[in-house]
Each structure stands twice: as C-alpha cells, then as structure tokens.
Symmetry: D2
Subunit: 350 residues, 4 copies
C-alpha cells in the first residue's frame, strides 16, 4: 500500500484525488492547498481525506510514500526537489518544469535518490493514443510523414505560461510517444492580445532529419473547441478527433507515391483513396490508467509509459519554441548532430 | 457585347466557359488549348464555340475584346503581356503571376494601355465572403485580432508550384479583401515528401503592425478535406466552414477583455460566450458573379472587387513565403515602414 | 431540513444520491437496495450514508420525510402507496406507474394525505427544454404544427417494459410540458426481435384536435445513438439535438404559408428559409434542478414543474400505445370529447 | 442507336436530357413540354435538341424508339399506354402510376407488345445502394431485422400527391431492392397542414412475416434536410447517410443475441459493439447508370435493375398507405397469404 499526498487542489487536483482514490494499492492520505475555500471543497467531496494548508506537511511527513504535484508550473521544481530529497516518489503535472535545466536536475536527483519521477501526460493512457501507437508500431501507416495538431478553444487564459506551454504538452507528448525519431529543430510564431507578453495564439513547427514534420496550432481565443490531429503515412493516414464521443480514431486507407518522369523532367505523384476503418477503443478512464501506472512503477521499480525522459523532451521543445517566438520565428536547433546535411545552417539559433 | 477568348481548357477552363456563356453582355468566341483531347471535350460540351490550338489565334484576333487566361502560372506573364499589348482586357487566373516583378509589370502595362487587368479570386464573390466582409466592415466583431485558415485535402499535386502557391491564394485573397490593415512580414515553414523540392505541406504566418495575426495551413496530403477559417474579434468571432452545404458562416457572440490587477501585477482576462447566429447567405454561383463583374468593369471602366492590386498583394505574400521557407522560417519583411518599434529588427530578411 | 430515503440503488440511484447530496435543505439519510453488491458500491462512494436491504426500513422510519423511489416500474405502485400512507412525500422515477389506474390511485391518495407526489421527468429541468418552452410560450414559432422525436441507441434492453415505456417518457414529458393542447388519440406499431413479446423497436403517433401531430421513433437496436427532436411552427422551427455538447437548440427562421388559387382549384404553398439562431443555454445539471424543485415544493407546498398530473398524462399515452400495438396499430382514443368532427369514428378503439 | 424522346422538361427533365445525352448507343431526338419557357430553357442548354409542345409529336413519331416520361404522376398512365401501344419502349419516372390497377395494365400491355417498360428508381444505381445490396446478399449483416428511413426537408410541396407518394418511393425502392422477403401489410399515419387534404407529414410502417419491420418518416416541413437510413441485422448494422459527401455507408460491427434464463423466466439479451467500416463507393452518376441500363435492356431484351415489377411493388405499398391513412392508421393487408398465424386478423383491412 502506497501512501499518497497531493499538493494543489485547483482545477486538476480533484480529478487526481478521485482517481488515486479509485486506484489499486494506494491510499490518498493528505491534500495540501493554501486556499481555505479549496480545502472546504475537499471536505465536501472527500470527507475522509485530510486537508492541510502547507505542502511541507506532506513533503516532510514520514507516512507519505509518494507526492503528487498539481500546482502552477513555476513551483514544480522547488516542490519536487524537496520531495525527492526526502526520498519521496514524485508525480508531476505537465509540463514537468519551467526549463530543461530544471527538468534535468530533477531527473538526476531522482536517480541519485532511487525514487520514481514521473510526469502526468494523461493522454498517453487513452484508448485513442494507445491504438495510434499500435498502428504506427505495426507499420500500418507505412512511413509516417507528418503530424498536424489543432487544439483550440475559448478560455482559461493562464497568467504564468503561454498557450503553447499550456496546451501543446498534450500533443507533443503524443508525438513523442508515437514517433521514435528525434527532432532536430523547431520554429514558432505567436501573438499576445492581452497586453501581458503571454501569447494566447501560437504556432509551432517541429523538424525531423527524415523529412517528417509536426505542426501545432494552439489558441485560447477560438469560438469553437477543436481537438484534432492528423497523422499521415505514405500507406495510410489517421484522423484523431478527441471530441467525437466514440469514433475518435479513423484510419484512412489513403496514400500516395511518386515516380520520376525522365522525359518531362518531372516527378509524377499518384494518390489513392480507399476504405475507412474506425477501430473500437478501450474506454477506461485515462487518468485512472495513469494513476495505476504510477503505483505499479513505484512498486516494481520500473519506468512508466509517461516517463520523465518523455516529459523532459516535451520541455525541451517548449523551451525552444519560446526562444523561436522571441526571435521572430527563427529556427532553433534542438540537436545539432542530426541537422540534415543540405540544411541552411547559418540561419539557425543554437 | 464583349467578345471573349479563353486560353486554357484544363481543370478550371470548362467552369470559365460555362459561366461566361451564362454571363450578361458577352459572348465566348474562341477557346484555345494545345491539347487535341481538350478541344474534343470542348466540342462535346459547347458545340457552338470554336476551339483553336494556338493562343495567338485569340490574342491577335481583332474580334476579341477580352482574354481570359487559365493556363499554368508560369505562362501567365508572357500571355498577358502580349494580350495587353494588343489592347485586350485581361482576366488572369490566380495567382496572377510568378513574382511581384511580373505582376507589377503587367499592372503598369495595363494602365498604360488603358485596359482592364483583373484576377479571378472567385471566393470574393461567394455569399459567405460577402457576408463576412459586411460583418467586419460594420464592426460587428469589434477589433479583429486573428484569422486562422486550414485548407487541406488529398490530391492534385502540382508539378510547377508548391502547396502555398496552389491553395493559399484563396484564403489570402479573402484576408486581403476583409482586412484593411497591411501586413509587414511573413514566416513560413514547409516540407516536400515527393522528392521534387515542391512543398506539399506548408504553414504560413502573416504579421501585422496592430498585433493582428493570420495563419494558413495548407496540404495536398490530408486524408480528409477541410476548408475552415476562423476570424476572431474581441466582440464576436466567425467560423467559416466552406464544406457546410448551407450553414457556412456562424457568428459567435463570444469575446474577451482584459484588465490590470495592480496588486498581483497580473493581467486578468475575462471571456464570455453567448448565442450563435447563422446568417442566410446568397447562393448565386460565385464564378458567375466574377464573370459579370469583369464584363461590367470592362464596360464601365471601373475597378472590380477582385482587383489586380489585391492580386498583386497576394503574390507579394506568396513570394515572401517562398523566401521564408528557403531560409528555414525566418521572418521576411514585406513593408519595412510598418515594422513595430519594439521589433527584433536584426532577425529579419528584407 | 428534509430527511430523504432513496429506494433502489441501480442504474439511476447513484445519480439521485449524488444530486440530493448536493441539493439544498435536505439530507440523504438512508438508501435501500436488496442487493449486497449495490450496498457495497454505496459504501465506497458515499461512506457517510447508511444502506439498508429492506425498503420498509425507509418507509416506516419516522425520521424520514420524503422517499425517492428508483426501482423497476412494476414495483412503483406498491412502494409509493405504502410511503404515502405513512405520510411521506414521494418522488417517483419515470414512468410513474404501470397503468393509468395505478397512477390515479396514487395521486388521489397523496391528495388525501396532503403530501407531495412528484415524478422525476429530468429533461424538463434542462436548459434546452426550458428554452424551448419559453420560445413556444412567447409564440416565437407561430402556431406549432408538429413534434418529431427520434431516441435510438444500442443496448440496455429492459426485461419488464418495452422500448416505448423505457425511452418515450423523456420525449412525451417534453411534449406535454411544451404543448398545452391535449391529444385525443394515439397509434403505435412495433416489433420484438428478442422472443419475449417486449418490443425493442416501436413507433408512436399522437393526434391532436387542431391538426398538431407528434411522432416518436424509439429503438434499443440502433448502431448509432440519436436523440433528436424537431418542433415545427408555421413561423419558425426548432432542431433539438441533445447529443450536441453546446449547440443543442437551433431555431430556424423557416416557415410556410398557403393560399387558395381559385383558378387552378389548388392550394399554393409558399415557404421561406432564413437565418438560424442558436441560443445560449443554462448549463446547471438538470437532475440537481429536479432535486431542488422537489425539496422546495415539499417546503412550500406547491406543485413542481414535473408534476404528477404531467406524469399521469405520460402514462395515459403509454398505456394507449400498448393497446394500439396489440391491435395492430389501430387508433386508440384518449379523450373522446375532443375527437374532430370529421373523424372516421367507427375505426377507433376506446 | 436508340432514338429517344423525352416528355416533360420540368424539375427532373433536364437531368434526364443531360444523362441520356451522355449515355451510350442512344440519341435524344426530341423533348416535349407544353410550357414555352421550358422549351426556351432547353434551347439554351441543348441547342441541338428539338423541342415540341405536344407529347404526341414524340409518341406518334416513327423515328423514336423509346419514350421517357417525366410528367406529373397522374398523367403517366395515359401517356405510357399510348406510347406502348405505338410499340415504343417506355421509361417512367417514379412512382410509375397512380394505382396498382394502372401499373398492372401498363405491365401487361408492355408484355403483349414486347417492349421494355422500366421505372426510374435512380437510387438503385448509386454506389451506396449497390454496396448495401452486396453486403446484405453476402449475409454480412446476419439476419436483417429492420430498416428505418428518414427523408425530410423543407419545400417543394406537391399539389397532386402527398409526401409519401413524393418522397417514399426512393426509400421503398431501396427496401424492395435490398430485401427479398415480401411484406404482408402496412400502417400509415399523417397530417395535412395546408388545407388541401394532401399530407405534408406522414409515417409508414411495413410489416413482414419474419418479424422484419420497415419504417419511413417523410416530411416537406422540416427545417433541416435529413436523408438517413438504418438497416439492422443481428450481426452487423448499416448507417446510410446520403448527405455525407463521401462516407455515405458505415457498417457497424454491432449485434445482439438472446437466450432464455429458465430460472428467472426471462429472456436475456446480450449486445456487442465493435469496429466500424466505411467502404469506398463507386462514384459514377446514378442517373447515367440508369440511362445506360435502360438502353442496354432495350438492346438486349433483358430486365433492368429498376424493373417495372419493383416499380409495381412500390405503388402497391403507396396505395395501401393511403388507405391506412384514410382509416386512421389501421393495418392494411397487402398479401393475405403471408399474414402470420398468431396475427390479430379481425383488425385489418383487405
């Protein structure tokens, strides 16, 4: 039985409490939040769980085995460092830290202390993402060529992070989970309409050595909610619409190929459309799957699906996107070693 | 009665013939296409229109008053220059030319010769775009803040122009028609998957002095067809879905505002959702409206809705987008005079 | 403070417990269910509520003011009669009873004992139905002419009642709430595919003196879930799609009118389409609204929105539908007094 | 080469002319319409086809081999009888006649004269219906249990026939084409809101000996256009949405089965949901397929897909539906020999 303390009972906290409450082999002992009204809400919904105002009451409590941190991103590093130092296993909300440096320090510290450090990229535990991962791994799509994601809606403007740091982690974690290749650079553009230097609309392109490309469109100021992703291979393509109640993943037997027309000195492109297949997906709640994975990995000392390395790669891309936006969209190199040979090298930022 | 010759009877040519056939005060006299099989098709569909193999038979024909050019973009300049030199009025398919230089030369020449030069940006004549123009002009949306367009589908890979030159002119023309402000720069990224240096997926951001931003997502390799545009104001927002049979334009009574929280040193953002309004649109065929506008402007010596200046501005953006793609997404300045004062000037290409 | 006991902790029971838990001025004291595993579920979800196996422990408990009955329909009458006889206020799940006779006996008994008898027609408390009621009352639609409802999906075959008794009460209650006119007859057809004389597909038509008509399509064997209702007036029409996350109610400025063409001895019908309006709806949980209405009506001795008279009228239509199905679709008269004068009277069943 | 004359150039006539123009081995020689303005339209669209005002100019013209009749239903019988008597092959628009008696007389006469009599049930030639026919024939759905059709929109009120005679022939022809079993009876209800005894909303149930059931919902007064059909088997089920541009037919791997629970004296029903498959459909224009079938059957003296027997069965159901509406929804027997043994026989009309 793993005893758990949860720090932060804001927007996401109640979902974490409810799912760790329902998970196996663990017990939610304490929840910390500095706001009285949040602790009152906790008391109504979960009368049997104690609320405390100070996170230290969890971190320095010897009964607690694992700490779940669901506070603003800027506080992740300090809270997690303290908890790891105390020998607690730690689950961090996404994104795991404010910078690559912070994330790497936490990973190193967790390794030293022999505790589990995990990031809650919940989407990896959905039936839809599991199915897409399987389809790509089994080479159903052929060679994958692009991923194109739109995640827009109205509202919940954050005051500490921009729209990419807020919304894109979901989609970048899916990208990193499904696509094995490592990207070499990013470009990003964006704009703020709220007079606070925090972009509410932003666009991110991620570049890969093989020619694979990923693009992300994020906005807090769309009148409609869209959560759509395309993943295209040369054999088949996927449309993933997270707002569909059941038909979330559609596999199109659609592809293209090209050949050289020597005579006309042209490339001829052929394309093909066919049947569509909509696989049935498992419907267990993703957050419960994440909670169970955390507990199981603590017990069995193994790495979770949503590992801290994947979480670090998400932060690496986010950090580079901020640098690119600041430099008016210039390409920012992630891994200089994999930049393609024919690349316009002098244009980039490292 | 204006006598018309149409050059090019490929994909779009039959639509032009059919609509100029139905337009007022004009007569389609000749159609030119070098391909025998295309002229045979013409003979079956329009037995009363003569087909010729050589465009010169139209251009140098003294019975012809106006020439419609629906050939590949690379041939526009030479054909149009000859026709204008002969004193013909000219309607060019979009994009009007391969470069800003070409487009400007044609515009100057037409002015000298006192003939009409017009570009067929058909979408400007749709009920949907007319309604959106009206809503923006009447300040229904408040201050407009962004335009976000997705135009993707499978197929019709072009062998001479990339996907932005092929698909984005529709959406850029709508942008230029609806938004009065002039952009100062663009960023673009893209990729080719067909081994011919012609991007089949590309992303374009257009930057404006006021903070307005426009973004375009274009692809020939999507399994699904999407033609969607969002136009957001701070008072209301529009969703324009061109694939909806009747409910193409939805106006969301959705907005946001911000204020400074002096105490917390934060900007507080408030948003609001409300009713949705779906205006009835006129349903006359857009291409017929374009044809009638061309004829009327020839007769009355006035400028059409889809003017050559608007067409030039479309080419200016496309040319800059190609430059940005070539320089790995670096910002390319369109009009140096309007670059915002706080802009990172040394990053850009002029 | 009203003390509440809930009988039946099956499919719907947990929702009732959760909402009465959240409602004002009441306290859920006891929940009864004969099944051990259901009481265990109760213990996990609501540790502070006592579970009992025998409904009599609630009915004869002097601490209990009001009894909520969420058991199979066939048991409603016996349980409610006992509870009313004990002076308890009673909330019955829909449909309120197995027959008009039973329903009327309960209503009479409740009146004698001076207690509230209410039926849980939850949909009446949704923002969508409240908005439609308002639009009809304010004569926005003009004279209403028809209501057409489809409620189909796969699954949850009942073993005691057919698909009309299971699904149609939702839509009939909405009809009765929105439309003031009283129907005079019904026709119904249906089929069983499960060898148990319980129709899994059925169709119901309800006839009104004014020419208004209502039709209901219900099925447990549809591959897709549909919950759609049309309400047509001669001025405007409503499309109510309960599966839309936000745009549930669309008001079409669509109508028709007719005139007599004396010359051709014909009726000329004119129709008109216009804008569409999608009103914003209140989003409070309907079941909580129902629970609060019950408590408020107990306290203030007034009649709820979802009254027992409305519930009785629902049962009256269901009973007649069963009679019509049994007689191969023959018309069954509900109220002989309002049968139109020109009606084929000898065809009907009374 | 078959010479064709087309009688009636109203709503559907231009489509027939265009497709027979494009069909193989035939030539449209003449088109008849009494209205001057319709013949003018013909002249503009098809300058090479002669228009005549009197149908007799076609019927008694010895150059004409085949006559296509696209006039109001009430005129079908007289025109077709004359044409058949003259030895012409005849293609009738749907429904083929105003009564079973008329339809049977035409069929007998055509047989006597050795000419082809065919009915234009265009939908049978669509890729969607062809695919559904194939799926049912190959027993992909298991035993089929029901067909449920909704065909509603606003407008085109007919002044001579009610909404079932106008819209249901499409769906009944699909039913008759796909389902081999013959129905034994129908029930129908409906209402007129236009003061002319012509129902603008009507509902039709068709009953089959095996327990298969078909239901049709037709309206001219819906604010939205719906063309949806469900076909349910015990193994799989089809959703056919004719308004979808490409994904018209979806096959759900969804079924149910039942068993007897001896102990509880209950039938237990089990259901199952699975993947969805969207087959690619052929996209040739249905009307062209119909025209080619007509010409080929004339030449090869064989029966077309859309045969006059199928057309007669459609009229048989329509005639019975009118009788049922007139008798307030009472069941009307089509074939007394196949009424199930346990049927409430005395309720019905023969």
């Amino acid at each position: 039985m793993i005893n758990i303390g949860i720090i932060g009972y804001g927007y996401w906290g109640p979902n974490l409490v409810r799912n760790f409450f329902a998970a196996k082999d663990c017990c939610v002992k304490l929840v910390a939040d500095a706001r009285t009204e949040r602790l009152q809400q906790l008391g109504i919904a979960f009368p049997c769980i104690s609320g405390v105002r100070d996170a230290d009451n969890i971190i320095y409590n010897s009964d607690i085995d694992a700490v779940v941190i669901a506070t603003p991103v800027s506080t992740h590093f300090a809270l997690a460092r303290k908890a790891i130092a105390e020998g607690k296993h730690v689950l961090l909300e996404k994104p795991m830290a404010s910078s690559v440096e912070e994330a790497e320090m936490l990973i190193n510290l967790a390794e030293q202390k022999g505790v589990l450090l995990m990031v809650d990229h919940t989407f990896l535990y959905t039936g839809a993402v599991q199915k897409m991962k399987q389809l790509v791994e089994e080479h159903e799509l052929g060679n994958i060529k692009y991923l194109d994601s739109t995640r827009i809606n109205l509202g919940l403007f954050q005051s500490d992070i921009n729209v990419l740091w807020d919304l894109a982690p979901h989609d970048i974690s899916i990208l990193n989970y499904i696509v094995d290749e490592r990207p070499y650079s990013v470009n990003a553009t964006g704009i703020t309409h709220t007079n606070n230097s925090i972009e509410n609309i932003a666009y991110l392109t991620i570049n890969y050595p093989s020619g694979f490309i990923a693009h992300f469109n994020c906005s807090w100021t769309s009148p409609v909610k869209v959560r759509m992703m395309l993943i295209g291979g040369d054999q088949k393509m996927i449309l993933y619409n997270d707002l569909e109640p059941t038909e979330k993943v559609k596999v199109y037997d659609t592809g293209y190929s090209y050949s050289n027309d020597e005579e006309k000195k042209q490339v001829l492109v052929d394309y093909r459309t066919g049947d569509i297949h909509v696989p049935k997906l498992t419907t267990t709640e993703a957050l419960l799957g994440m909670a169970n994975d955390f507990i199981a990995c603590v017990q069995k000392k193994k790495q979770p699906v949503s590992s801290c390395q994947l979480g670090l790669d998400v932060v690496r891309i986010l950090e580079a996107s901020s640098k690119s936006i600041k430099h008016n969209g210039r390409e920012v190199i992630l891994e200089a070693t994999t930049v393609p040979a024919n690349h316009n090298g002098h244009e980039v930022l490292i």
